[in-house]
Symmetry: C2
Subunit: 277 residues, 2 copies
């Protein structure tokens, strides 16, 4: 939330309307994918849990990356929706009331029981990938790109990506209270969790939009830095040492964009630009 | 376990060696996919949790269905491994120590903490789909079949398939002790859980082996009945009313196989044939 406020501050009106339209189109796509319909026992919790989870900028980055390499946003919409579902799923499982987590943080309204939360979030992972796989259009001959995006997302969400970051975050919570800005946290949580998710978003957008290998890798790296910046803000927004890190990461991020059409770059670069810095 | 013993009883030596070779090839494929390698914190739990979970006949059915329609077992090996991972993931989450599940059934050795169990099983779902997506071979021009199999598996594992069955099972456990054989259980647990998994296995095998639409649908239905039979045995193996259901399901299952090459059908039909009936 903090990071979104900072980002919003820095935006011109046209940038703002760009990101608003991207977010609202992803919402609409997801609303259509998981309407509240029978069987209500399935769709009601999935709908609410997906929409109630805090948002991340990864899905929007996926769309922006697709458009930056010359693609149409529709080509990346299913992947963006999948990323949103994956993020919601990780959030729900992070907050699951496991027996060894006394006083599990009640950061969201607990409308549904733990079985529903556990299994609905389980269902979101394959559901997201199903949306993506179904977006394959034989007329467009895009099967290879869709498969590549499935590999990217499934790898990023797995045990060497977001899940590893989440594990590190959960384990580290036990020893909270550290002073200053922990570099350990930056590399083992922010890089793995928000970093991997955004790197994957940048790469998937570029893949689905028809970008070159070089463009894909640049947008993957850009996404990594964006994610790390977001990760720092989410937890250490008010920490001066953290801001120093953010500044360095922002410079690295912008370097990745220097070979793209600079007129188009302005909007996407807003994800790491903040007036506060 | 019970069902595997029954099934084994009914097998001729050649059938037995067929299923042994299928199981062992899936094991080998999975051993290679998740070796115990660095980072050990990731691969060790994933390896152990995947191999320690009870087995299901769905992966083997996937291979057999592929071969029945004239495919080579290699074409279905990644899908079979994915199904095995999905099943293991569901098993782990079923046994997760959630706060509202006092005395969670300790049906397997608890070597790893609940966070590891939760997140490793989370990671298995995309990992299985990643294996499948990576099995796409541009030389074989099989992207469409791989994507179709991804849709099948992700749909089957989602909130209207295995996860729904698992939810019903977990909720129903609360009111255990019912006499006789509950038809409710057959339709809301066995059909959804084991049934959907095996139906998906049959369909995926047929898709990847290049079967026709009709063959795919027949093997999907066959798999559904196989799964329901297995589901009944897993829970109600010694119940006479249950055996009556099994006999009916077996007849329905065998009807689905009648148009295939009967010499080949003998082996695959062993999944519902038992000497005990």
């Amino acid at each position: 939330l903090l990071s979104r406020r900072f980002t919003a501050l820095a935006m011109s009106r046209s940038d703002h309307s760009y990101w608003s339209s991207v977010h609202s189109e992803i919402d609409t796509h997801l609303e259509q994918a998981i309407p509240i319909k029978p069987p209500l026992v399935v769709y009601e919790p999935m709908h609410h849990l997906a929409f109630d989870a805090p948002q991340t900028s990864a899905p929007a980055l996926c769309i922006a990356a697709c458009e930056l390499v010359g693609g149409h946003r529709d080509q990346a919409m299913a992947a963006a929706s999948a990323l949103r579902l994956m993020h919601a799923s990780a959030f729900i499982h992070k907050n699951l009331p496991l027996t060894h987590r006394p006083g599990t943080r009640l950061t969201f309204d607990r409308t549904f029981g733990p079985n529903i939360e556990l299994l609905t979030a389980d269902g979101m992972i394959p559901f997201g990938l199903e949306l993506l796989a179904r977006s394959d259009d034989p007329d467009q001959n895009n099967s290879d790109r869709v498969l590549q995006a499935i590999v990217e997302i499934s790898h990023a969400m797995g045990s060497q990506g977001v899940m590893e970051g989440l594990y590190n975050e959960l384990e580290h919570d036990k020893s909270d209270g550290e002073e200053g800005f922990p570099v350990w946290w930056l590399h083992n949580v922010c890089r793995k969790k928000e970093g991997t998710l955004h790197a994957c978003a940048g790469a998937c957008g570029a893949i689905l939009g028809g970008g070159s290998e070089e463009e894909i890798e640049k947008l993957r790296s850009y996404g990594l830095y964006v994610g790390m910046v977001q990760g720092i803000f989410n937890r250490f927004g008010g920490n001066a040492c953290a801001w120093k890190e953010v500044k360095e990461l922002r410079d690295l991020a912008l370097k990745e964009l220097k070979d793209f059409d600079q007129a188009k770059v302005i909007t996407i670069s807003r994800l790491v630009e903040t007036k506060v810095l």
